[in-house]
Amino acid sequence: MLKLLAHRVALSIPLVLLVSVVVFALESLVPGDPARTILGENATPEGIAALHQQMGLDQPWLERYWHWLSGLFHGDLGASLFTGDAVTSELNSRLGVTVSLVLCCVLVSAVAGTALGMFSAIRGGPAARVVDVLSLTGLALPNFWVAIVLVALFAVKIRLFPATGYVALAESPGHWVRSLVLPVIALSLFGVTAVAKQARDATLEVQDTDYIRVLRGNGVSESRIVLKHMLRNAAIPVVTVLGVVAVSMLSGTVFVEGVFVLPGLGSLATQATTDHDLPVILGIGVYFTVMVIILNLLVDLAYGMLNPKVRAS
């Protein structure tokens, strides 16, 4: 297990570098210019050139990248081109929002998806077909559209939950939950359906094995068969899907945080991109990459715990 951990961490270093190069390259392709954005419509060419020099944008691409990279090794991601605040402090203040959103979504997807999928597989019949159809529908609906519909229904029409905004967990747990309900539903819909489909297929497969037949034939209680044998075996493929779902949720936060005006990393990414705030964009890239690496590591660890074949080798 430790070997696996070390191996993964070693692999993640080149990954972070690669992501930063790609982000740097992509950003230079985005039309627009931060100096022009700051100075507005009536900027003079001289003014823009001066601001470029001030921000270091006149230096060649490679040099700017090197400068940023050496900062990264000191834990310094530079300062925002607009606010002048350190990128790390700005991102850290928003990290909690995105992490709570993604973790809640992963939890909801895992629990609701597995429960629905196993119910559909074990129960069969019309009830199962309803679950299957709902799953497919959930897979087809884009999360930003679902988000808008949820706001219209539960925040504007019924006024059950706040339409926008975020309350930190430390401030008020009750309000924290209320502020996250709609975003979590919108964002985890895809996860729930993807996990449900996988859990259903895996359960059907386990249900058709001879060891389940032997257990039934010996009168082992059904709840024991479902919880100790089916769930355990079906969990292996489900965890794999959950890892993919969690990563896709990170990109989903960009849309969902935008709709619900949550002050997280995703909404900052949108804002920084339109502003051409390169240090902030790069910082978000690094944070997201690290989060993906951690998520994958957790999946590998869970997989190792669930599957004795992995543990043995």
């Binding site: 009168g219 075996n233 074949k309």
Partner: protein
């Protein structure tokens, strides 16, 4: 009747639903008995209903008609659903991978049926660990196997684990559904010897299902030959193999390869002589199920369903032309040590 049979199946019919509300009869009016301590071999090709009979006896599949008696009591055909398990009947399946839960240790897998039985009967479960160790020893696995996972064992070892799990509850009857078919030849022999050893020690009966007549002959006292869900021939293992009465049994015997290349070539010619251009399979109504593939078929075979008629000591055959067929042509081929049988009829 010499002794009360342990298992008695009468008129067993099993239908499987197929598309558009039609039904397919997988097992058609099968009678069979298994005496205490006896091994009944069931042979037949794929789709002949062998495994369906096993499932019906185990209560896994719904029975359309017929009765299954175990120790004189009629079994509830829906006993698995109704959670009234008969732990006196256990099973060893063909696939050594799917028959063991990969996430549970071998000790856990073997103990679980016993624990469930003890809980149901209100017994003490303290002794389970010792019984598992004893059973592992009996099936020839090391003691530390209990704490390992199925993935760490070979196919033959997994089959030993499955046998240990079946025997831990001290059953009276064990259904071996192609229990050695997935193993290679040397391992097959080991497992067959293990099964006969355990039978001798614990006095259990086997319903031994296989498509391989030579394996069935090796372990069985009596043999039942199935084709398209019907019994074609029954009898003692020696008489069915050495003097097969039914044309289907003969074809089945001729299909099994032998070691001697010369004999194998002769058998291939023999097999070719049995083969006729198969007509479309007649619907299973009032006809012999084998008629469309039978060299000896006459009009009557297509119009009337043959019933089992006694052949000799304890055998029976379902063939209209029984008694008219030429003796088994294989007797013309010089045979190896195994003594030549008395041949067919006449």
């Amino acid at each position: 009747m010499k002794t009360e049979p342990l298992l008695q199946v009468e008129g067993l019919c099993v239908d499987y639903p197929v598309r558009r509300r039609r039904r397919f009869r997988a097992v058609d009016s099968v009678d069979l008995t298994v005496a205490p301590g006896e091994t009944l071999g069931v042979v037949g090709e794929s789709g002949s209903g062998k495994s369906t009979i096993a499932k019906a006896i185990l209560g896994i599949t719904p029975v359309t008609a017929g009765t299954i008696r175990f120790e004189g009591r009629e079994l509830d055909p829906r006993r698995v659903r109704r959670r009234k398990p008969i732990t006196d009947i256990q099973v060893v399946f063909q696939d050594p991978v799917s028959s063991l839960d990969p996430t549970k240790t071998v000790g856990h897998t073997i103990a679980e049926p016993l624990v469930a039985k003890l809980r149901r009967e209100g017994g003490e479960t303290g002794d389970v660990r010792r019984q598992v160790a004893e059973m592992l020893d009996r099936v020839g696995l090391p003691e530390n196997a209990a704490s390992r996972y199925p993935a760490q064992f070979s196919g033959g070892q997994r089959q030993r684990i499955a046998i240990a799990r079946a025997f831990i509850v001290r059953p009276r009857l064990v259904v071996c559904d192609e229990a050695v078919s997935a193993l290679d030849l040397s391992v097959q022999a080991q497992i067959l010897n293990l099964l006969t050893d355990v039978q001798r020690d614990l006095g259990v009966s086997y319903l031994f299902i296989s498509h391989d007549l030579s394996v069935v002959e090796h372990v069985s006292d009596r043999v039942l030959v199935l084709y398209r869900g019907r019994v074609m021939e029954t009898g003692s293992a020696a008489s069915v193999v050495q003097s097969p009465q039914h044309p289907y049994t003969r074809a089945l015997l001729a299909a099994a390869p032998v070691h001697d290349p010369l004999r194998q070539r002769q058998r291939r010619e023999l097999r070719a002589s049995y083969r006729i251009e198969p007509k479309a399979a007649a619907p299973l109504g009032d006809s012999c199920p084998f008629a469309h593939r039978c060299r000896f078929a006459v009009d009557r075979c297509l119009q009337e369903r043959p019933v089992l008629q006694p052949t000799g000591a304890d055998g029976a055959v379902a063939c209209h032309r029984h008694g008219e067929l030429p003796s088994d042509a294989e007797d013309d081929v010089p045979r190896e040590p195994r003594s030549t049988a008395t041949g067919g009829s006449k």
